[in-house]
């Protein structure tokens, strides 16, 4: 049985050694990339010090999704209900409003 994965975006202050990058981490200065780590890399203390040194602010982390189907569905339902409340006074027939709503809903399902 394979364990499914999920992505989380964390401030660098919450990233610790042993976490796995879920997306490439790049840091640019003046539009030029001067530091890059690949997706799938297991972060070491040295990597985290290198990110700190270059003032990296966040990382996308991939982790095992240990939730059961029931737990996952319950979390999604709660997120959708909250989103419905946030958009309760908006006209969701308008394309931009509907687009933002759907994009956030997709993000909550990561």
């Amino acid at each position: 049985m394979t364990t499914s994965k999920r992505l989380r975006y964390l401030p660098i202050s919450e990233v610790v050694a042993g976490m796995v990058l879920g997306a490439p981490l790049t840091i640019a200065e003046h539009g030029v990339t001067n530091f890059a780590l690949p997706a799938g890399l297991t972060l070491s203390d040295t990597n985290i010090r290198q990110i700190d040194l270059r003032h990296g602010e966040f990382a996308c982390i991939e982790e095992d999704d240990t939730r059961s189907d029931a737990e996952r569905n319950a979390e999604w339902a709660a997120a959708a209900a909250r989103l419905d409340r946030i958009f309760s006074t908006a006209d969701r027939t308008r394309p931009a409003v509907a687009g933002l709503y759907e994009a956030v809903l997709a993000y909550r399902k990561l």
Partner: protein
């Protein structure tokens, strides 16, 4: 119990607020100056002991991460380690955080302002226009509320209760104040000589059809994203309008994968709330 605010009253009472940090205008003016140097930024930073201490602290933390055992005391070395764009971001954030704190505004107000500032900054980065204007537009977009809460706390609380009961915020503010926080913010931004695009962002961030200006559009869309992502975790967070033309001006196509943008905004907001605190 309606108060009819006037521009005269708003500007007259500004003197009772803490001094608006002049470094904000100074930094924004250096963005348009091709000759602005690290030396000029060093002079600006050195004027404020609090900002000086924070910059040295951040540079020293980075130096320690690089296992450099020497403590940094030279500001120009510290600034060159951090980089011009990061220093501008830190100085703008810390000085406006201090202004908000001295004005006795709630943490919620400041966290929401940081969230909109970060979202506007990321939208500016995507659309390739100066991120500092967008950051300041976002950080100051609700500055009118700060004034209202400080000088009319009872009426401000009544507005909050009306919004919690489902009334639209601008309508509730006009009912209690005669003006809304966008009007009050425009008067304050003009009084403080903020750049025209930042004043326009403060004035029009709730408009259904905001003017075709990138800083205005970034602030307008950033407010919607910050609320949609529930970044301030306040029950009354609402998305009410989102302009199609503002999204188009920023090159946003909502059918694209927005997960990375949203994740970056969410993580950076948490990070910068710590840095600016």
């Amino acid at each position: 119990m309606t108060t009819h605010l006037t521009e005269h009253e708003i500007t007259e009472r500004v003197a009772l607020l803490p001094a608006f940090p002049s470094v904000v205008n100074d930094i924004l003016s250096t963005l348009d100056d091709d000759n602005a140097t690290l030396g000029a930024l060093t002079v600006l930073v050195a004027r404020d002991p609090l900002i000086t201490a924070r910059i040295l602290s951040i540079a020293n933390a980075a130096a320690l991460a690089g296992r450099n055992p020497r403590e940094l005391r030279d500001m120009q070395v510290a600034l060159s380690m951090i980089g011009l764009s990061r220093v501008r971001e830190i100085v703008l954030g810390i000085s406006l955080a201090e202004f908000s704190r001295e004005s006795r505004m709630s943490n919620y107000f400041w966290e929401h302002s940081v969230a909109v500032g970060v979202a506007a900054q990321e939208l500016a980065r995507r659309a390739h226009f100066p991120v500092d204007y967008a950051l300041v537009g976002g950080l100051l977009h609700d500055i009118g509320q700060l004034w209202m809460a400080r000088f009319y706390p009872l009426e401000f609380q009544m507005v909050r209760m009306a919004v919690a009961a489902g009334e639209e915020i601008l309508a509730a503010e006009r009912r209690y104040f005669g003006l809304d926080h966008c009007d009050v913010g425009r008067v304050l931004g003009t009084f403080w000589n903020l750049p025209a695009s930042v004043v326009a962002a403060i004035e029009h961030h709730h408009d259904a059809h905001p003017p075709a200006d990138k800083v205005v559009s970034a602030t307008h869309v950033a407010e919607a994203i910050a609320n949609a992502l529930d970044l301030s975790r306040q029950d009354e967070a609402r998305v009410t309008v989102l302009s199609e033309s503002a999204c188009a001006l920023l090159g946003l196509d909502w059918s694209e994968d927005m997960n990375y943008l949203f994740g970056k905004i969410e993580a950076r907001t948490r990070y910068l709330c710590q840095i600016f605190a």
